[in-house]
């Protein structure tokens, strides 16, 4: 009897195990469909937030805290070069289409990687948002207008970043269905992309609910009409530049866009930051406002201190004082990081407004060891830091500079045997490779006992847009307006205006040099030196050989200054292929096999 009872238990057990297929039904509940998202205003805001992801934080948030874009230009040389990191590989020319260090280095959470993949993801998200927002739930119609404008503007922003790195890209104004045919896809000219960027910016500018300025910290990082104007200017500047113009002259158009942008920015409360609010920290010198502007975060208020910054990312600042400031023998510093080159120092004019080198041919030799001095400048090679543009000492620490570190005043000694002597041993991370140290992004006095981060990255500021206007105007032949715009920037730091006697070519060279000085360490130079090249040019004159200043201290306390090459080998990254980043290999291969056309950038 017992047995039968057991059968009665076991058999149904086995049968029930075999019949209930729903034990395998365990779809995760967290997955949602798009229509669920669109029905909830909060989730719609989440969808807009996704459009803001992947904005690179730049600055020092590259892999291993290298200021990578600056270090890849001719403005700086990193002390980390022997560590096999991003810039070390770049200097070694250790790059390829399947892994270019500029987009293939590990992401330290700063978003400074995988640009191709991420920007296209963002562009798709923006397009999708634009497509669905009209039918989505929002708390009020003002939100809907502003959200849509933001998505347009972000799409323009990411397109601009794509163009800066990769040049020509396809224009994609809508999301792509799963069954799309890619075979007819082509790369559009940079000019056409610029026009597309402008149309997105104009769509944003037409929206009444998009503000001119962010006035609340909660909204930090959100885009504004001011950004739309700066983006339009930048897009046309690139489209008109030699590398991208495909033989067309777009300078007049670039000039018009820039002129319109500057006047509207000024009409809506944007102005240069001309007076430091913390003289105790930044000093009272003529370049102190510039230093405060770049070293400190912009503030968000209806009456802000900083009316110059147009777009600043939401976060991403780091302890710059111990990773890219002054490493040598300073307590608790980590590495010297990126140090300014002699070439950058040479770019600073003398106080009378004369460049110290002949800008049309600054060096007589390939290796930059023989400067081609401008006889008109009051420059003394035996006392090189006297009588210079005040911005030099706000950008660079050089022999004889003083800083406050751990509450003590320290004199910088970069001479041989000095406390901050440079080292040319590539494994030495704590000493400068150039004889200089960086200062611009560091708030004076920062150190372990006064741990101040650098500013969140400022993508656009009025000073830069003014110089965009100056360049476009000069190229288009509007020399007076070019000078006016450039002089406004120079004047803020106490530098005299450009002479009216400069020819167009001379003025263009001076404005280019002005960009290098004013925008040093702001990741502009890397792109500028490229877009000024012709498509078949290279960077052999700028980055192939870079120099350091070796200073020896004589018995009488005077110094002898000797230029030397930082490395006995040419630095990588100067070839024609280096004008643009390679499209990731898989992507280029896929596009080439699908479209039958060449997609890869030249040389890769």
């Amino acid at each position: 009897m017992k047995t039968q009872r057991l059968i009665a238990i076991i058999l149904p057990l086995m049968l029930s195990a075999s019949s209930c297929t729903d034990v395998l039904d365990m779809a995760p509940d967290g997955n949602m469909q798009l229509d669920e998202v669109l029905a909830d205003p909060e989730l719609v805001e989440g969808l807009l937030n996704r459009c803001y992801t992947n904005i690179p934080k730049k600055g020092y948030s590259y892999y291993w805290f290298e200021s990578a874009v600056v270090g890849a230009s001719d403005d700086g040389w990193t002390s980390d070069e022997g560590q096999g990191l991003l810039l070390g590989n770049l200097y070694q020319d250790n790059n390829s289409a399947s892994g270019h260090v500029m987009w293939n280095s590990p992401d330290e959470g700063g978003g400074n990687a995988q640009y191709w993949d991420r920007f296209w993801q963002q562009i798709r998200l923006c397009s999708q948002f634009i497509e669905v927002i009209d039918g989505a739930a929002v708390n009020n119609e003002a939100d809907r207008g502003r959200f849509k404008a933001e998505a347009h503007l972000l799409r323009a922003f990411f397109y601009m970043e794509l163009v800066k790195w990769f040049g020509k890209v396809p224009i994609l104004d809508a999301t792509v269905p799963f069954d799309a045919d890619f075979s007819t896809l082509t790369r559009s000219s940079v000019y056409d992309v610029a026009k597309f960027i402008i149309s997105d910016c104009d769509a944003a500018l037409a929206e009444a609910n998009l503000p001119w300025r962010i006035t609340e910290a909660n909204d930090a990082g959100r885009v504004t009409k001011a950004l739309a104007l700066a983006l339009k200017t930048k897009a046309m500047l690139f489209a008109a530049s030699p590398l991208h113009n495909e033989g067309q002259d777009h300078w007049e158009e670039a000039y018009q866009v820039a002129k319109d942008a500057v006047s509207k920015l000024k009409a809506n409360g944007y102005e240069l930051f001309t007076e430091t609010t913390q003289p105790g920290v930044f000093g009272t010198g003529p370049a102190a406002p510039l230093r405060q502007l770049v070293a400190q975060n912009a503030d968000y208020s209806a009456t802000p201190r900083d009316r110059e910054t147009i777009y600043q990312v939401r976060d991403g600042s780091v302890f710059v004082w111990h990773i890219g400031y002054i490493g040598s023998n300073m307590p608790n510093t980590y590495k010297a990081g990126l140090a300014p080159t002699q070439e950058l120092v040479d770019a600073f004019e003398t106080i009378d407004g004369e460049p110290i080198l002949n800008l049309s041919k600054p060096y007589l030799d390939e290796r930059h060891l023989q400067p081609n001095y401008n006889p008109a400048a009051v420059y003394d090679p035996n006392n090189p830091y006297a009588n210079r543009d005040p911005r030099l000492d706000q950008t660079v620490l050089r022999n004889g500079s003083t800083i406050v570190f751990d509450n003590q005043t320290v004199e910088i000694q970069t001479y041989v045997g000095g406390a901050h002597e440079p080292s040319f041993d590539i494994t030495n991370r704590s000493a400068s490779r150039t004889g200089y140290y960086h200062a611009k992004m560091v708030t004076p006095g920062a150190s372990q006992t006064n741990a101040i981060n650098n500013s969140n990255w400022k993508y656009y500021r009025l000073g830069e847009t003014l110089l965009d206007l100056a360049e476009a105007a000069a190229e288009a032949g509007h020399l007076d307006e070019a000078r006016t715009a450039a002089n406004e920037v120079r004047g803020r730091s106490g530098m005299p205006g450009f002479s009216a006697s400069l020819s167009q070519d001379e003025l263009i060279l001076r404005i280019r040099n002005e960009r290098r000085v004013e925008l040093a360490w702001e990741e502009q130079r890397y792109f500028d030196m490229r877009r000024w090249e012709s498509p078949d040019g290279d960077l052999s004159e700028t980055v192939k050989w870079l120099t350091a200043m070796v200073i020896t201290r004589n018995g009488d306390g005077s110094f002898t200054y000797t230029r030397r090459n930082i490395s006995n080998n040419p630095r990588g990254g100067w070839q024609n292929r280096d004008l643009l980043l390679p499209i990731p290999l898989n992507e280029a291969s896929t596009l080439e096999s699908v479209t039958g056309q060449k997609w890869q950038n030249p040389g890769w």
Binding site: K2, T3, L6, I7, I10, M14, A17, S18, T21, V23, L24, D25, M26, A27, P28, G30, N31, M32, Q33, V37, L43, G46, N49, R50, T53, G82, Q83, G84, G88, N89, Q92, N94, A97, W116, W120, Q121, Q122, I123, R124, S127, P170, V176, F178, F182, L185, N329, P331, Y334, D425, I426, T427, N428, R429, S430, N568, N569, G572, T590, S593, V594
Partner: protein, 1026 residues
Amino acid sequence: MTKMEKYIKFIALCVSCLVMSVSLYAQEVSEAQSRVVNAYNQPVQGATVVTNDGNHQSITAQDGTFNMTFDESSQYVVVSAAGYQNVRIPISQIADGREIALAFDPHNMGGSINFGYQSYTKESVTGAVSSVSGSVLDKSPTNVLSETYAGRLPGLTTISNIAELTFFGYVNLSKAIRGHSSVNGNDPLIIIDGVIAPTQYLEFISPKEIESVSVLKDASATAAYGIQGAAGVIVITTKRGFTGKLNVEGYADYSFQQMTRRPLFVNSAQYAELRNEAGERDGLGTYSQFSQEEIDLFRSGSDIGYPNNNWFDDYVKDFVMRQRVGVNVSGGTDRFRYYSNLSFLNQEEPFIITDEPNRKYDPTPRVNMGNFRTNMDVKFNKYLSGYMRLTGNIKREKLAGATMGWNVYSQIFNQPPTMFGPLSPIFENDPELSNQVVTVDGLDNPVYGTLNRSGYNNVVETNVIAQTGLKLDMGFLLQGLSASGGMAYQTYVRNETTTTQSYQRLLRGNDFSTLDNFTTYKTFENTPLAYGKSSVFFYYLNLLGRIDYNRRFGDHSIDASVHTYYLKQEKEATGTSNTVLPYKRQNFGFSALYGYKDRYFLKADLGYSGSEQFHPDNRYALTPAISGAWIASKEDFLQSDVLTLLKLRASYGVTASDQLGGARFLYLDNIRSNGSELERGNPALEAERIEKLNVGINLGLLNMFTLEADYFTHKVDNMLINSSASLPIYQGIPLNYYPKLNDGVMENKGFELSLGFDKHFTKDFSVFAQANFMQAKNKVININEASAGDDFAYPYRTQGFSLGQLWGYRIDYSNGNGMFNTADELANSGLTYAFGSPRLGDFIYQDLNGDDVINEEDLAPMGYAGLPQQEYSLVGGFTWKNWDMSFLLHGVGKTSQFLEGTGAYENLGRGIFNDIHLNAWTPERYASGETISYPALSLSPSVNHRANDYFLSSRSYLRLRNVEVAYTLPQHISQKIRSEAVRVSLNVQNLFTIDNMKSKYVDPEIGSMSTFQPYRVFNIGLSANF
């Protein structure tokens, strides 16, 4: 832990039920006594005698005798013992008490093989399986069960990438059965005592507890496992008790372990010279790093400021010790049988800890481990029996420095011999800088500090497996029919108490002539211990049910079973992705073996299984297999003394896999609430189906030689792959989120061959030997790979090649040594390297696509993949009187890897030099015609540090895995301690290795210098049976 408690309560309930049932036990049985002997009329100990219905069993004692009961429903008994052929004897003969004679088994056709859900006699096996007994595995004195498999189970390849004695050694051992057949999941299924145990945390089980391990390789053996069978199955069967008197075995092992390779650690003078040489090659001049005076002072050792440290010798012991003691207890009555094991292991760790007077804790790393197992079988009455097995393992491990051993090990190389230390000197006027840990720039974790000043971790790991089940003999309905059901539960808990401490690090300036140049490094400070705790828990739950029908009708035999199981796994995963959800699988399996005259066999298998991985419409996969075997040598017309065995086997079928590269729910879209859009689903996805064919032959000659050969093919044409071949990234959906497809094609072919010899020359002397060889070569035919374009010498990197094919730069050896020897050669090469400028003494790479630029377009396939394509072994031995001896030679072939990192690239850290760097290219060496073993050294990454011909290393090796010499004490001596048998053995593991590695300091199996090399183990073992 509430689940645990619930479960323990459940077990307690079961036990009390069992006890109550036992008291109701009553049945009509007969009893018999008999004796089992061999051809020399020697008693056979340990032979099992089992009735055909499995209801009664016994085991022979030392004198070969056994007692057993049986009832009228039993037809016959099967007597089997290791090394002997099975015999089947009608019950009537047993009742007479007649002696049973067992014949030797030179062709290894005796005994049976456990298929996980069912055992089959070896004779009836139609497919491809191999097996080994636990006592053979026990010859290898290691702590990780899978390490004992190497070379013992033909067809199974194990690769141990980390030779650490404990901890991560567990989880870094990969296994493959007959190579790889899919790009997705290739992990074999593990079944322990009939229960699926999808975990690698079984490595604690000691071979002492194991009856046998079998490896199921073909479709006939694995189809019934459905979606989990595609990568093959490893079946572990633990020991059971048999009716008979109490048998107690005590054993003890004592091992000395020695790393097979201790790395070269150059002295300071050598180091300084090599750094200078690198600097010179980089164009920095002759003495760019160290002056001649400094080198001389390093060499003389006369100045404390010029240290010469061998950090490896300072921190790593020459020998470590391991002790294991344990006891096995087994026995039982016809109603209740038991097997118990209790063992304890103590493993020393290889790091040397320094006594520090002010330290309040002891960081000495060590490992203690205890195992317990109890397997109980109960017969309640004539119809109802049951089992209960409880297994567990508790491991306590202390880690110095709150980090894994391999982490500490790898840092040793980052400390140059010229580094001062390990501690700074005592400065009378600066106590803050006195006695602090010294490091070098860039090294955050100097070894001394990690071992002595950064705290420790206490890790307690607990594994518990509980299985219980009931079996109902339904002979009252149909003779031979039975039904059974059970459940199994396994948990793993890791509890980690971390105590961490920070400590001051000091850097020393570059001037060796003074000791006054220590400065603090970064912001580290001495801190007291800080505490932390973390734990991990996961479990597996199995429910099983089955119906069996086993019956003989004259010449006909049928073994059929239908089984079903439901499996739920809660894995270790943490975080917020959907991998934290439990994994559920359900399977129905059907197997039927029909035999005629014990010489014709036909077997059908069917699996029907599903997992939550797929859309309900495509959830279940059907996996049929058909197979057959013919023992031709049993036919009258083939009876001969020469051809003593001829068996032909063939199987064909389908196996399946739902392992989709770790991803889950790929049929669903996944949009998260913050708006982020993840995977896009493809509802049409289904399980991968791998078709397998196996044909084999067993050939026996002269009752001593055996040849076994198998040929197999595996093919999959619905492999899960990305849809990325034609998809540009620019469309904006990340390609890994794009819907996946079932479009991949891959094949895997190979063969196995084994040649054996087994002969008993006299009653005291026998010899055996067996050589095995396996080859498995796979080819990826389609994974939707996009062509890299015409500029590439090889536009496809995966399709058309073996999975894991290596790619590198070919060196142009046309000038003899493949390096730029002269400035002319360098200038005239016309080559540009896309990854740096070549210097004199650098490699000349072949420009395969002829564009004068060396870049990834010139990459070429070289060597093989990391998984060996060939594996072979030779086992052999003899017994002579009370002595027995055996050895295992094991090797792999057609496998390679690029040497890289520590030990390969001389620029790493502050410069790490290995044997290959000692004779690097210099103009002087070239001019004088000296041997050049390496291109020009460099202080920084050079163009040589690429995957290339030079760094390509064959990982083929031949190892003497194991040698055992044992002596069993004569009975008149062992009886003095009332023991039946006392056995003393000496085992040596990994005595020597023959390989082709570029550096003799890198083991071919480990493939890297910066982690533990395999251990050579000398073990003395003692066991005594009572």
